[in-house]
């Protein structure tokens, strides 16, 4: 009955305008949130065992330096100087193997074999959650992390040119490697298993415990200066780091920085799109408020009369609050549907580009949409009630 009375002057065209505008804004906002959360893992994934704020430092190899036999190892003084820098959290040394290594694997009856080297970093720098990153003397299997580039080199260079099968990361992990260790006149065979790939680390990494044991077995016992250091920093974006490295002539491995740049650009672009979406949402919210205010203004006498015959402000406001909340709810649901449709379209392409990408869920869009819906509806409800209260007090 109240609704029959109050629905007069409801402008369908204004509300449609709001509906479309808000839908537009909502879809843009939700889509950018969803896209960001879908794409981000593609840039941050890959180095499960190295945290983001680790930097790998080496000295520059120069032509002149090589000619005069200059050492690129870090002296103890240099390491302890680095440890005292304000940006440093802790420093770990790369320890090289002091014996010869060769690895081979059999593939379709063909034997591949190559000379190799091993390095290790303190276990604290390796994500302990990494399965099987563990070695004890007496074990026959060595866990190994190799650069992802190696696999790409094989898959896209070697295998294609020789008509050999390409290997996925998962397959690689299942394939045993024959490892031959030699030094101090001893030779032994062990099995290697690849437990991880890295984009950031250009070395073949084994557990420190293995290297200690193997160096004592096959090594010459000479202590060598580490040629690379792994550095945990408080904030990788700290510009003192870059300055310090430049002054000392150190180099860092760059690909991590590139990933950082890409995510930064992604963030900026998503940020811009998100703000445009939010702006449209805010404007459409404004449109709705104007439309409702106009409606209330046109119906002022009726609202006043309802209040005078004993209707409470809450009861009088309810139909309008219901109207806006329903509209907002429809916008929310439609926007979600639109996001799911668009997402299905780009997800196919995305999985082609990043095969290792795990499919996420639409939760980010749902949550963002729900938050937006609740905020906008509450603001609407509050504003309408304020307006009705004003009519009560005849202001």
């Amino acid at each position: 009955m109240i609704w029959k009375l109050l629905k007069q002057h409801v402008s369908v065209s204004q509300l449609t305008g709001f509906f479309l505008a808000n839908l537009c804004g909502m879809v843009i906002v939700l889509l950018s949130v969803q896209f960001y959360s879908d794409v981000l893992p593609a840039f941050t994934a890959g180095d499960s065992f190295l945290k983001k704020d680790y930097i790998i430092v080496s000295k520059r190899v120069s032509t002149l330096g090589s000619a005069v036999g200059q050492n690129t190892g870090f002296t103890e003084a240099e390491v302890s100087d680095l440890k005292t820098q304000p940006f440093t959290e802790r420093v770990g040394e790369f320890r090289p193997a002091q014996f010869k290594v060769s690895a081979g694997m059999g593939l379709e009856g063909m034997q591949l074999s190559t000379a190799m080297f091993f390095e290790s970093v303190p276990d604290g720098f390796v994500d302990v959650n990494l399965d099987g990153w563990h070695f004890e003397p007496g074990m026959q299997e060595i866990p190994i992390v190799i650069p992802r580039n190696y696999l790409n080199l094989y898959n896209f260079g070697f295998a294609q040119s020789r008509n050999m099968p390409q290997i996925s990361e998962g397959m690689m992990g299942m394939m045993p490697l024959d490892i031959r260790l030699s030094g101090r006149g001893q030779v032994s065979r062990m099995q290697g298993r690849i437990v991880g790939f890295s984009d950031r680390l250009n070395t073949i990494l084994v557990p420190e415990s293995f290297l200690e044991w193997a160096n004592s077995q096959y090594g010459e016992g000479v202590k060598e200066e580490p040629s690379r250091l792994i550095l945990e920093v408080k904030n990788p974006a700290d510009d003192r780091i870059a300055k310090y490295f430049k002054d000392k002539g150190y180099e860092t491995e760059n690909d991590k920085l590139d990933a950082g740049k890409t995510t930064w650009f992604l963030k900026v672009i998503v940020g811009i799109v998100l703000s445009v979406g939010l702006l449209i949402s805010v404007l459409s919210f404004y449109l709705l408020m104007l439309s409702i205010y106009l409606l209330l203004q046109k119906n002022t006498t009726k609202l006043e009369n309802l209040l005078l015959i004993g209707y409470s402000p809450a009861k009088v406001a309810a139909p309008y609050q219901g109207l806006t909340a329903t509209l907002n709810a429809f916008v929310f649901i439609l926007a979600l549907v639109a996001v799911v449709l668009v997402r299905n379209a780009y997800l196919d392409r995305l999985t082609q580009l990043f095969p290792s990408l795990e499919a996420g869920s639409v939760w980010p869009a749902c949550v963002a949409g729900a938050v937006l819906f609740v905020i906008v509806s509450l603001l609407n409800i509050f504003a309408i009630r304020k307006k009705i209260d004003k009519i009560w007090y005849r202001r």
Binding site: M1, N305, L308, I309, G310, Y311, S312, W392
Partner: protein, 214 residues
């Protein structure tokens, strides 16, 4: 609520005037339940203002209006809503009906809120007051006299301690005025409410306990 007191009440617009001669303004007046009062007034003496002060939708007065000793300025929105539903009924001079609703819908809108009357009773009043044929007609297409009767019926659709009728018979013939007076007396006998009627000429024919000049 048993009494409505006016203590030195005066509309703010009259504040500057000298020599106000009135039985109500700037005096100590009390309306009692179960009594009936006629307030006679020339136009422009603040008759409708009085109604709106008592009914809580205007506050531009000096002095105090008190319900059972409580200053009405202290009442909150929720209190007023409750009063307008349960103890104060008002037949507005300008009626405040909804032109786009039918006569029955106008009454129902109030009755839905209070649930005080059943449809049969309302129907009977429509018949007694000679507007039964207007039951389903939009208010906008009825004469002012007919509308006055609908508004009167609506005013009865709530429990009340006091009922205010602001010029209830201004557009009614004497016959209809008598009918209205009879229904009102019946209801007053049942509920025991106080009646305050204003008039600028034609009176609702009742046995008034007091007649005052505004």
């Amino acid at each position: 609520m048993n009494t409505i007191e006016l203590q030195q009440t005066l509309p703010e617009v009259f504040a500057g005037r000298d020599g106000i001669v009135s039985d109500i303004w700037h005096r100590q007046v009390a309306f009692q339940k179960e009594k009936s009062y006629l307030i006679e007034a020339a136009s422009g003496t603040g008759k409708s203002s009085l109604c709106s002060f008592v009914y809580g939708y205007r506050q531009d007065y000096q002095g105090i209006i008190a319900f059972d000793g409580t200053n009405v300025r202290k009442l909150h929105v929720a209190d007023w809503v409750e009063l307008r539903k349960r103890s104060l009924s008002m037949l507005f001079q300008e009626l405040r009906l909804f032109a786009e609703l039918t006569a029955w819908e106008n009454v129902k809108l109030k009755n839905n809120l209070t649930g005080f009357r059943d449809k049969k009773e309302i129907r009977r009043w429509f018949e007694e007051l000679g507007i039964a044929d207007k039951w389903d007609q939009p208010i906008g297409r009825m004469s002012f006299g007919q509308q006055q009767r609908v508004a009167f019926i609506r005013a009865l659709c709530q429990p009340a301690d006091f009922i205010f009728l602001d010029e209830p018979v201004s557009h009614l013939d004497d016959g209809n005025g008598r009918l209205m007076a009879r229904i009102l007396t019946e209801e007053a006998a049942k509920q025991g409410f106080g009646i305050v009627v204003t008039s600028i000429g034609k009176h609702l024919p009742l046995e008034y306990d007091a007649v005052m000049q505004l």
